[in-house]
């Protein structure tokens, strides 16, 4: 769907050239929910904006559906943008227009449908985002979550194949964030829409993305399937971003009782996550565990668990037995201490 090759973006500033993006290669498949995460200033917004060329790359290429769009302009560029939906952190709705007029705007811009067809389409997408009864209201009369739903309806009006989300939930409270994210997942499933989203919050990635790229100082420092990256983060930025949502083990070790106890990190996914692995092992091996930190849940519909556990000085042979037993249960095990 989207291929980014050797992408770079430099700005001229009075202090010389500022490189916002360096040598970025990414591939985003059709139907993916692709998350781009990074701290502020990492360049994620710039990267997202190169996808619809609101930002022109200074180096490299952007391919959409196999077509090199890096240098198109004029009417072709407008046609391309009309096929790409965008939702914004601050919604960017017209406050002077009603909800339905806001949603109609992209249809008017594209100018392909008759007024009656436009009205039908507006009602369709408002229905989809659950705002059919608010069509006559003005954005100022709606809550933040409802306004973002209008934003989503507007983005979907022209039946795009690609939806770009620019920190779409950052201005919303946690509960509203969840409902908007759920809506995005629904849309992705129902319409087979490819979604590219940027965020600084790993919770957003965990909730909706199936692929993730971590951006730092304008470079992709790590990317892959969300499950892989979450369970085996390699780069320190990834680890610290995960730590913010309690999915990181370094801190946990510090909380362990000092001395000769052993610390293990267990990672398991799939059906294993549902079976009572730990209690069975504890019973069978006669070793007692303390859970220092952990996370159990679902990522993209597949159950997973990651636990950091501490055990009091088991003798060596029992410890080795335990490791074998864990391996037999399909649990990945790292000895941290």
């Amino acid at each position: 769907m989207i291929r980014i090759e050797g992408l770079g973006k430099a700005y001229r500033t009075p202090q010389g050239e500022f490189h916002a993006l360096h040598d970025i290669d990414l591939e985003i498949a059709r139907g993916d929910v692709f998350g781009i995460i990074g701290r502020s200033g990492a360049g994620k917004s710039t990267l997202l904006r190169t996808l619809n060329l609101l930002e022109r790359p200074t180096l490299g290429h952007v391919y959409i559906d196999g077509e090199d769009v890096t240098h198109i302009d004029g009417d072709r560029l407008r046609r391309l943008r009309q096929r790409i939906g965008v939702i914004f952190q601050h919604f960017n709705l017209l406050h002077s227009r009603s909800v339905s007029e806001n949603v109609r705007l992209p249809l008017r811009i594209a100018g392909e449908l008759s007024t009656a067809e436009q009205t039908r389409r507006v009602n369709e997408v408002l229905e989809l985002v659950g705002l059919a009864d608010q069509a006559r209201k003005f954005p100022g009369q709606l809550s933040g979550g409802q306004q973002q739903r209008v934003g989503i309806a507007r983005a979907l009006a022209n039946k795009p194949t690609l939806l770009l989300c620019d920190e779409a939930t950052s201005a919303l409270d946690p509960q509203t964030t969840q409902s908007i994210l759920r809506l995005l997942v629904d849309i992705n499933r129902q319409l087979g829409l490819t979604i590219v989203l940027i965020t600084h919050d790993m919770n957003v990635i965990r909730a909706v993305a199936n692929h993730v790229a971590i951006l730092e100082h304008g470079r992709v420092v790590e990317s892959g399937k969300v499950l892989d990256v979450f369970l085996n983060p390699r780069h320190e930025t990834t680890q610290s971003l995960l730590a913010e949502i309690g999915l990181e083990t370094e801190g946990a070790i510090a909380t362990a009782r000092s001395g000769s106890s052993r610390i293990l990190r267990l990672t398991y996914r799939g059906v294993t996550a549902l079976s009572p692995v730990l209690s069975r092992l504890s019973r069978e091996s006669g070793v007692d565990f303390a859970i220092l930190q952990g996370s159990v849940g679902r990522l993209q519909g597949s159950p997973y668990g990651q636990l950091t556990i501490e055990m009091e000085e088991p003798d060596d042979s029992r410890f080795q037995q335990l490791l074998v037993a864990l391996a037999n249960q399909d649990v990945r095990c790292e000895v941290l201490r």
């Binding site: 560029l77 965008v86 002077s96 227009r97 992209p106 811009i109």
Partner: protein, 236 residues
């Protein structure tokens, strides 16, 4: 009340200049109305062009951006020149232009061109500033939706500023009422003309006071109507 001392009401009845006041009021209304119309027709596009070519809104293509910078520089200079000339001086300076456009420099017709030329730059600046107040996110959304500049202006920018525009029209209309009175100095007609001819040249204080009173009422009415419309159209 003693019948010998005339009351205010008696004075009002005895005032012989009501027909003149009526005609002059009508003239003022026509002058301001027509001037306002042309001011909007001229100033609104001028304000939009100023906004679109202003720094921060220019094309990423260097050639186009250069043309925009030149356009902005010239228009901005013209607007500043017209705004810095005192209106009274502008009235006199524009006499040949007025004669060329209207065929006369006197009366209601004679005052419309200088009024428009004097006030349209002011209105254009108001429009430019209003457009600057529009949330940049809205512009960004329009670009992302693939809108042309024309679509962005007519379907997003202007609707978003409509309440502000009405406010600007109100301010401009009131300024025009004031300016139109000033044009009486060069024989422009209307209430200003009346005040100058009777109040100043013939020392008829009563006419002058009534003229001022009528102007006050006009200004209040315009402001009232303007405020009402702004409130009705504001959805924020």
């Amino acid at each position: 009340m003693d019948a010998a001392t005339p009351s205010l009401w008696d004075a009002v009845i005895a005032f012989d200049y009501w027909p003149e006041i009526g005609t002059a009021t009508l003239d003022t209304l026509i002058m301001t109305g027509v001037s306002l119309l042309f001011t909007i027709l001229l100033g609104l596009p001028l304000g939009v062009v100023l906004f679109l070519t202003s720094p921060g809104h220019r094309s990423p293509q260097r050639q186009v951006a250069r043309m925009q910078a030149i356009t902005y520089g010239m228009l901005s200079f013209l607007v500043n020149v017209l705004r810095s000339a005192p209106f009274l001086i502008l009235l006199i300076l524009l006499i040949p232009v007025t004669r060329w456009i209207m065929g006369t420099t006197l009366g209601v017709e004679g005052s419309i061109p200088p009024l428009v030329i004097g006030i349209a730059p002011f209105f254009a600046r108001l429009v430019e500033n209003l457009l600057r107040e529009v949330d940049r996110g809205v512009l960004e959304a329009c670009r992302a939706m693939g809108a042309t500049t024309r679509q962005t202006v007519f379907w997003a920018l202007l609707p978003e500023t409509l309440p502000g525009l009405l406010g600007a029209v109100t301010v401009t209309a009131i300024a025009l009422i004031g300016y139109s009175a000033m044009s009486g100095v060069i024989g422009g007609g209307g209430l200003g003309d009346l005040a100058v001819r009777y109040g100043y040249q013939r020392f008829n204080t009563a006419v002058m006071l009534v003229t001022v009173a009528v102007l006050v009422v006009l200004v209040q009415l315009v402001q009232l109507i303007g405020d009402r419309l702004v409130r009705r159209l504001n959805h924020r």
